[in-house]
Symmetry: C2
Subunit: 299 residues, 2 copies
């Protein structure tokens, strides 16, 4: 990876697919005007975070990810990538077959071609985040996506808590780790707990950057989204999209409660330099890691 400019587009849900699309198109235009070579959208940017409750009707939101299909988000994203000549990472709700859906990030080249896709591998499930109902676990593994700006280690949201995912991307030659995400607070949570959660979310990801000597981009939504059926207090998505370098050093951070385009410069040479002083890949004890493939070491 050479020197590039990356833009993270953080926004609130604008009320409809059309409104979100219009907003994102406008923001991509601004980001590329600011020099962005790579644009990252937040997780499931085209809708509300619909996993706050379980409703079979919501599978209607899922689409084919073939950009040849008219009126699909994939088609629209392809067009935006081509129009603005930018590499675009877009998180979409994939309909793979009737009854088979994924939380999928697609990467489009600057000419609009599909560079690759990543199907979210780690699927969360906790009150207000019922993703195991909607998304089948990814089956494409952890494979960086080669693009004109570098090999993109695209992961999604819950993946960000798993060092294994980041490591596998690094071992496969990723130049940067990228996380579209949708994470927030239970609104009634204590302020101290909110602070711990936000800090933990950033810290664990910065840890992946450090452990792997890679820059990292994390693009989150912001804004309050009510619970559609009122069984929870809704979710206050906490924004704070951020970027760090290969020592975990801060490159930029967005606000907690505002639409924002966070533009940062990434220099692929930094990873080479940092890995020379901290050669972790040299010293991994692969002979002693076998039990990482176990659920638990109680046998």
């Amino acid at each position: 990876m050479k020197k590039i400019k990356a833009a993270l587009i953080q926004h609130s849900h604008k009320g409809s697919r059309e409104a979100n699309l219009a907003h994102v198109a406008e923001q991509i235009a601004l980001a590329t005007k600011a020099g962005a070579d790579l644009v990252v959208l937040q997780e499931l940017f085209a809708s509300a975070y619909f996993c706050q409750h379980e409703d079979p009707a919501l599978f209607d939101l899922a689409e084919s990810l073939d950009p040849q299909h008219a009126d699909t988000l994939a088609r629209k994203m392809s067009e935006l990538a081509r129009q603005f000549e930018v590499v675009l990472v877009a998180s979409l709700f994939e309909k793979r077959a009737p009854g088979l859906y994924h939380n999928t990030a697609m990467v489009f080249e600057r000419d609009g071609q599909v560079a690759g896709r990543y199907r979210k591998m780690h699927i969360p499930d906790d009150p207000g985040f019922y993703e195991k109902f909607y998304f089948t676990e990814g089956d494409l593994g952890f494979q960086p996506i080669p693009t004109s700006v570098g090999r993109l280690g695209v992961l999604v949201c819950w993946d960000q808590w798993f060092p294994e995912a980041a490591r596998l991307m690094a071992l496969a030659g990723a130049d940067v780790l990228i996380y579209p995400t949708a994470i927030g607070w239970e609104p009634e949570e204590e302020p101290e707990e909110k602070k711990r959660q936000l800090d933990a979310w950033q810290t664990v990801q910065r840890g992946h950057a450090i452990a792997n000597g890679l820059p990292l981009l994390s693009c989150n939504r912001h804004g309050f989204e009510p619970s559609p059926d009122g069984h929870t207090n809704g979710t206050q998505f906490w924004g704070n999209s951020f970027a760090v370098g290969p020592q975990g050093e801060w490159l930029g951070q967005a606000a907690s409660d505002a639409d924002q385009i966070l533009v940062v410069s990434l220099d692929g040479q930094r990873s080479e330099q940092v890995r020379r002083i901290w050669p972790f890949l040299r010293d991994r004890r692969i002979d002693a890691y076998g039990d990482l493939l176990k659920r638990y070491r109680d046998d």
Copy 2:
């Protein structure tokens, strides 16, 4: 693990084995007076950080770790643990056989018995830290050591950069991650780089705490130690020993340049609570982690 008090004893090299031993004995007395159930010493506390250059004569510093042997550090540590009725983690230079040495952390029960040992698995080697010359890679794997205060996930220094080590300890039922360490700056380094390095060191370890829902203790030395043969500028060990809880939240942090006993309270119940809201162990994709056992995924 129940509620315990842990004490980290951070100090500078006092000039000799005897002086370090005397200092540590005094500090253990103070720590237990302050209520410590568990005391952690810094890496190779009994000597200077001798790996600043490669000198075969320095293997004389290594000892049998059998506490039955009179005048050994192991014997002395066993006596201190029994005298102060405290669980003690002590990092020692182990002579296993002629020509076979390890960087080993021993854990002593409050009755002075050996609870277990851990041989440093990841061995660094970079200018001023020539550990591959002195220490054979550990061959005991990543096994928590059961004690009266809980199952101690004892690792050593360079291990702290490897998420695999922390994960394997968590999967084997560790209640807490513990790192005796000796890390510092090249004195002529730029202030900004020094800041990045210290921050990265703490952040990556806090990331392990978060990813595994475990508290973590990291005990470092402080003070400048010159290069014995003048081929480097020596090392300014950066202190900043610290403790965090299972969300990576700060429990305490020592100064960068002072002898200090850092006493913190750990509550084993916190891990249970945190893992209920962040059930990462539930969602690991062990079916897709096979390549973690590869050096690099280029085949």
